[in-house]
Symmetry: C2
Subunit: 155 residues, 2 copies
Amino acid sequence: MGVEIERKFLVDDARWWQLAANEFSYLRQGYISADPKRIVRVRATEKEGFLTIKGISTGAARAEFEYTIPREDAETLLDTLCDNIIAKRRYLVEHARQTWEVDVFLGDNEGLIVAEIELDDENEQFELPGWIGREVTEEEKYYNASLSRRPFKSW
Amino acid sequence: MGVEIERKFLVDDARWWQLAANEFSYLRQGYISADPKRIVRVRATEKEGFLTIKGISTGAARAEFEYTIPREDAETLLDTLCDNIIAKRRYLVEHARQTWEVDVFLGDNEGLIVAEIELDDENEQFELPGWIGREVTEEEKYYNASLSRRPFKSW
């Protein structure tokens, strides 16, 4: 088990794009349970599968249990047990010796770009890049589990 | 992924007891999702933890994905994310070269004893031991996920 501490921001400035690493991962993810108190997420990347359980959020912190599973299992779980699949491209951007994950949503969430930084503890300092917009860490509608049910395009 | 094919029977005759192997496992299990269409089960034995996802049942068959997880994770998941924990002792009984699992429920389900046999396919033949009672394979109230919400003692 771990505790996931992450802060999440909107991105509405295209400058990040030139700073991103060339490679991106294509992620598909869905929810067997989208209840914010007990999230069960399935994720498939090009190479791997993950099963992740998240407990309740307290500010930016959340209990998280993540297990690697066969990619084929993840695909089958997504196709048979998850109603709404989220697809996104994830880019990594280095800034001030920290790594930001920039998620460019596709499909029903196209138009939404979100940047996240994972912290070791809630008081860890970090420098905001100039291309970062408003913070949405605690806004439930931006949770990926919420986006699977109420996608960005429907807002 | 596998397909779980099992048949489940009540046990209301004490004869099985003398035939059981001496050892039993003490199991605690709970449900992060108890929705019968997408069950997410956490199980802790004395030594191991398991995370199991089950899809919809068709007769005795059901898609099942089971992953071993650290026992401490299983205990934490049970204690923090599962509302109603089922506890039972599981005995193994050999009969006609097949293994029956006999679950003796504890706590709120005390008084319920259920025997299960796992089959390789739905047409596999098996011999019913004399101590076996009525079949309950398709009775939803005997699903462990249902027992976690509506325990036997409340019937």
